[in-house]
């Protein structure tokens, strides 16, 4: 809709700017609070710019969280393991669902799609029981081992990308005597690096943000992830030291936002693809 008159354009931009302010305000409020002394968080009406910038809220919050750096290390380790697991297993499965024609393939794929509807809380108890009988409760294993078994959403996403590649390139490689696994590694994967990056990013985000998983599987405070550590910090605080809580929240959000700005294009394309855009 290119031809819009001046009046309409002013209206559209006003609406966009208003919405943008509403969407950015909570971020600004978070950072602003994180730099205030405690008494100023309670002043009315609230000030956006603190009288004096209190950077020391950040080291203070880290100290009060006790294991902050351990939490960060745990989160990073889990992200790394689950990204490796997800990319490897989902790529294999997506290849099997898109680049090889086998009997019953599309029926099995429908089952895969259907499993996306199963909410984690529904299967949480038996899975917990299973991990308990393996002696995995209180370890990281329940949080990363399952990622090596191809989650449905990632398989679906990669399959969309794999289907987009012409059939001829596989045929040509087959005629040259390349095995299926050879085609997978030497032909398809190099062509799909952007798609693999998207899946890696989504998994990183998922693991970094996950709350329910760490909540049920991790038992020792020092094994917590950042998300769980932040929640435990908040419940100790009882929600009064807002300057420290906001500083801690900023520190947990910041890595994700930074990652997004470096990989924005892949991110947006990946999400658009998940909605059925080819």
């Amino acid at each position: 809709m290119a031809r819009t008159n001046l009046f309409a354009r002013i209206l559209i931009y006003s609406a966009l700017i208003l919405a943008a302010i509403a969407f950015l305000a909570p971020f600004a409020w978070m950072v602003s609070t994180s730099l205030k002394p405690l008494n100023e968080t309670m002043s009315l009406p609230p000030r956006w710019i603190p009288n004096e910038i209190h950077w020391e809220n950040y080291p203070d919050a880290i100290r009060e969280m006790r294991y902050f750096w351990r939490y960060a290390g745990n989160s990073l380790l889990l992200c790394l393991l689950s990204v490796v697991g997800t990319v490897a297993s989902s790529a294999l499965a997506a290849y099997g669902f898109s680049r090889i024609e086998w009997k019953g393939r599309d029926t099995v794929f429908v089952i895969l799609l259907a499993t996306m509807m199963i909410p984690f809380p529904v299967v949480m108890v038996p899975i917990y029981g299973l991990f308990k009988s393996l002696g995995w409760i209180g370890t990281f294993k329940p949080l990363w081992v399952p990622t090596f078994f191809a989650g449905a959403f990632n398989v679906f996403l990669l399959r969309q990308f794999f289907l987009g590649l012409p059939k001829d390139i596989s045929e040509a490689a087959r005629i040259d005597g390349c095995s299926e696994i050879g085609i997978f590694f030497r032909v398809i994967l190099p062509l799909c690096k952007p798609a693999l990056l998207v899946v890696a990013l989504f998994q990183f985000l998922h693991t970094w943000n996950d709350f329910l998983g760490p909540l049920i599987y991790l038992t020792e405070q020092k094994d917590f992830t950042l998300a769980l550590g932040l929640q435990s910090f908040q419940s100790q605080q009882g929600g009064t030291a807002w300057h420290h809580l906001m500083a801690a929240s900023t520190l947990v959000v910041l890595p994700v936002i930074a990652l997004f700005f470096f990989t924005q294009k892949s991110f947006i394309e990946g999400i658009a693809t998940s909605g059925g855009k080819n």
């Binding site: 919405a19 909410p119 308990k132 997978f184 709350f211």
Partner: protein, 305 residues
Amino acid sequence: MTGQERHNLRVGLLFISPWIVGFLVLCAYPLVSSVYFSLCDYSVLSPAVFIGAQNYRDLAADEVFWTALYNTFFFAALAIPLGLLVSLSLAVLLNFEARGRGFFRTVFFLPSLVPMVCLAVLWQWMLNGELGLVNSTINPVLDVFNHALGTHWQAPNWLAEARYAKWGIIFTVLWGVGNAVVIFLAGLQDVPRHLYESADIDGASFWQKTLHITLPVISPVIYFNMIMGLIGSFQVFAVPYVMTGGGDGPGRSLLFLATYLYQNAFDYWNMGYACAIGVILFAIILLLTLFATKLSERHVYYAGK
């Protein structure tokens, strides 16, 4: 089956074998045993004892469960349509103008990256009755009205009042609609331009174009976002859990099905009861998805069909 077909089947299954193992161990087995445990007295610590439909009978008589069910439906009935409305409106606005689109899209998308725990902590502060940004924005506006009309309106203490607590959670999740905005925008950009051009020639207004071109063409995307919203809303957990410190809010107003399931499983070790809640939760999502799909068969338009 020819030799080639057999070979393909073998290789295909080999490639998808990680998923097959995951499906059997982490999906099919837990789903079946969840149904079985829902018919048992089970605490993980001791073996499950079959007790028939007792858990379901207990649920039917459990007032707390009905509260959780009501809260979940209340939340979903508002969060899903509002989420669709907000994200689609933002995407339509973005689709108008090329200039600044990237910037605004990023702004709308950013909150959806925020981890649930941060989201909950931040909005607990935003919605603070006295000091929060939401009320310190609303109250001065209300004061203007109060002054003019002689009324005594005041913004509620959102999360501390049973009547308004769920609205607090709804605002919180609405801030994170960015994912849907990006998906809608991609859908809008796929609407063939020539449709608008011929409508322009016929002198169609903006609303006519929206109603007769845009909405029908992007209806599959609306359907997709609706299903995603449905699955997400019915299992809402982290935000209310963190905001209430693992509790259920004022007057149990923030107790949802997933929270009650969690409490039964891991606070009371009443795993059989928790599984029964899980089975009901799954049945609700399944039925509503099927219902939405039936509805979409009538109203969703797929190009080329």
